[in-house]
């Protein structure tokens, strides 16, 4: 069976649009609510990235940090996250799920244990922010054995030589960081410039799916439509925070936001 991640890209391509990837933090603002949020956005999102909250995140901006601290404060544990994924898959078994987090959490769980648990709960891909290439070679191989995509990150600072090597060794999907920023920074480069870099990467191997993330909001998403996929994370976390602060229901609000995002890339 092929990985549902590839199927999601295929479907989006057939509809002549990029795949929409959302990022929400597991356990934000509670275990149940984060599951409900996943359910409410699954109609419009093609791939769901689920953040594994960590308390010393070196690449996340304030929005995602706020979500992560909120989830940790509520006592979220890794096993809860696997449960959320498993429960979600009962609701929508074909929707691909990617876990995104920092390596220490995986390391403490044990690489093999972690991947087995990913497999049984229905995780289809992994982004490990602080496990770059070539340090991730062994881990990526272990993922492959379990048919889980290990998603390589690429950045504007990645040299051409390095890009080639990473792409060569990569699984079918990779993640291009739009600019020099933590997550959720204001887009400080033009969409044209981002797409220029994106195309440079795409050219190396057009068969690899490349998604763009960091700094993408409702305002900018429409201008990046030509990519294989687009990730929106901080804008969603911000909406959760805003909803909580104004005593509104984050589940319906985030559902609405994702529908709007989807409409902008149709």
């Amino acid at each position: 069976m092929s990985n549902p991640i590839s199927a999601a890209f295929k479907k989006a391509r057939a509809e002549n649009r990029p795949a929409l990837l959302t990022y929400t933090v597991a356990g934000d603002s509670s275990k149940k609510q984060s599951l409900d949020i996943l359910k409410s956005i699954s109609e419009n999102a093609d791939i769901l990235e689920v953040g594994v909250p960590h308390n010393t995140p070196v690449a996340d901006g304030s929005q995602i940090q706020t979500s992560a601290y909120r989830a940790i404060k509520k006592g979220i544990k890794i096993n809860d996250i696997f449960r959320i994924v498993r429960d979600f898959k009962k609701f929508d078994k074909n929707k691909p799920i990617i876990l995104m987090g920092y390596y220490n959490m995986i390391f403490q769980y044990g690489d093999n244990n972690f991947l087995s648990k990913c497999k049984t709960s229905g995780v289809n891909g992994l982004v490990v922010v602080d496990l770059p290439w070539p340090e991730n070679k062994d881990f990526a191989k272990k993922c492959k054995k379990k048919s889980i995509y290990f998603i390589q990150l690429l950045s504007p600072t990645t040299t051409s030589k390095r890009l080639k090597k990473i792409i060569q060794n990569s699984h079918p999907m990779n993640y291009f960081i739009s600019m020099l920023s933590t997550t959720g920074g204001k887009l400080k480069v033009s969409p044209r410039e981002i797409l220029k870099n994106y195309n440079r990467i795409k050219k190396i191997n057009p068969k690899k799916e490349i998604v763009i993330g960091f700094g993408i909001t409702g305002k900018t998403i429409g201008k990046l439509k030509s990519a294989d996929g687009l990730v929106v994370g901080s804008a969603i976390c911000k909406e959760i925070t805003r909803s909580l602060n104004s005593r509104q229901n984050p589940v319906t609000n985030v559902g609405k936001l994702v529908r709007k995002l989807k409409n902008k890339i149709k």
């Binding site: 960590h54 308390n55 010393t56 995140p57 070196v58 690449a59 996340d60 901006g61 940090q65 601290y69 940790i72 544990k77 890794i78 920092y102 390596y103 220490n104 959490m105 995986i106 390391f107 403490q108 769980y109 922010v129 602080d130 496990l131 770059p132 290439w133 070539p134 340090e135 390589q152 990150l153 690429l154 950045s155 504007p156 600072t157 990645t158 040299t159 390095r162 960081i177 020099l180 920023s181 933590t182 920074g185």
Partner: protein, 414 residues
């Protein structure tokens, strides 16, 4: 795991930057790979460049003020009645602590790389103060990240940073101490690595920062070796070097030149912060058997829960209040070259009282931890044993805490 002889410890990591195959490394976001590699290339070249070394030495001598004093603490020696007690008064250095060495070298490197801004983290405020001094000296703009809790408890250093023209950015996330300051500083670098150089304030962080800091603070042991030979004619037969350990920059620098000596001759004792006597929280991952984890880009022993969340620490001394520890010290512990233990807040305060009662020396709360263990052990040691404590910081920055805990006379009388 084995320590090699005749190769500097900073250069004993493997190609991926791991000491002993498992400590250190580069667990960093992709964006930082290139700037880190650039810094590695630059540092590897310059540390062999005679011109660069003489430039460094010139600034160490004329600006930092090398060598710092090596003095016998006669009164304490008599009072304790055991080993001879000496101190390397590193707080003599410009700015009042060892952090000046790393800051100077990072600014020299930043200049060479053409960067105009330098950012850094700070706990006790010394790393930040020194970086602001060095940045001013070398014409760089300076941004310092500091936990909001530390800003409140280390005011004199904050004032100094601002006076030097640095922007002090308070960090409100997490425990609002050093661990959060380092995270925030790394995040800033992720977003600004094209224009900005980063100085990690201790022998922590991605491997190259561990190496640069260790290389810089080793000035301490280079000086001490000469001073010991001048004083005793040779390296004493029984020498014990006590140092506090937070991130581990001063202790590594204090020991580096003696690495190849047999530990029966030159013993290294690292003293971590045990925290308040009644609290379960501490900043002593080596002493209390913390597990290996990844923090700020490096694998190390670190205080964490079973899920891998980094745990909050507690210590009276902001400079030691860090949940992790340098990969270099993990390596020295596992190869058994150094011995590690901890002193509590109360023990550090008692040592501060004792030292200031007998000597004209005013160690900050960080080295007071080392003084406590050294004085306790010195009692049982023979008269021909030479105990040296690195007094790596001055207590001026601690006067608020000292006044609160010990009363006014301990601030005024010194």
């Amino acid at each position: 795991m084995k320590l090699k002889k005749k190769i500097p410890v900073i250069d004993q990591g493997n190609s991926l930057g791991f000491w002993g195959g498992k400590f250190g490394g580069n667990f960093v976001p992709e964006t930082l790979k290139k700037p880190i590699e650039d810094l590695e290339v630059l540092f590897n070249k310059l540390k062999k460049d005679k011109k660069f070394i003489s430039e460094r030495d010139k600034y160490f001598k004329n600006w930092v003020g090398a060598p710092t004093r090596f003095i016998k603490l006669e009164n304490l020696t008599n009072h304790i009645g055991g080993a001879q007690i000496w101190s390397k008064v590193v707080s003599d250095a410009n700015g009042g602590a060892h952090k000046i060495y790393n800051a100077t070298v990072h600014c020299l490197l930043a200049k060479r790389s053409g960067k105009k801004i330098i950012c850094g983290d700070t706990g006790a405020g010394y790393a930040g103060k020194m970086l602001s001094m060095a940045a001013k000296k070398f014409g760089l703009k300076c941004k310092i990240f500091m936990g909001a809790k530390d800003i409140a408890r280390q005011k004199p250093n904050v004032k100094a940073m601002k006076k030097n023209g640095a922007e002090v950015i308070p960090v409100y996330s997490g425990s609002q101490t050093l661990v959060d300051a380092v995270s925030e500083c790394m995040r800033f670098w992720v977003a600004n690595c094209d224009t900005t150089a980063m100085c990690v304030g201790s022998t922590v962080g991605p491997a190259v920062f561990v190496r640069i800091c260790g290389w810089s603070t080793s000035q301490i042991s280079r000086e001490l070796k000469i001073q010991l030979i001048k004083e005793f004619g040779s390296i004493p037969k029984k020498l014990k070097l006590y140092n506090c350990v937070g991130g581990g920059s001063s202790s590594f620098g204090f020991w580096n030149e003696f690495m190849d000596y047999d530990k029966k001759q030159v013993e290294f004792i690292g003293v971590e912060a045990g925290g308040p006597a009644k609290s379960k929280k501490h900043a002593a991952p080596l002493t209390y058997g913390s597990k290996i984890g990844i923090l700020h880009g490096a694998a190390q022993y670190v205080n964490q829960n079973s899920d891998g969340q980094i745990e909050e620490t507690e210590s009276i001394s902001a400079g030691l209040d860090y949940p992790g520890i340098s990969p270099l010290h993990c390596f020295l512990k596992d190869t058994k070259r150094a011995r590690y233990t901890a002193a509590s807040d109360e023990e550090a305060l008692s040592a501060y009282k004792l030292v200031t009662k007998f000597e004209k020396l005013r160690p900050s709360l960080e080295p007071s931890h080392a003084f406590f263990v050294a004085l306790k052990e010195a009692k049982k040691l023979s008269k021909d044993t030479v105990v040296v404590i690195n007094s790596c910081g001055d207590a001026y920055k601690d006067r608020g805490i000292l006044e609160e805990r010990l009363g006014k006379k301990y601030v005024k009388s010194n």
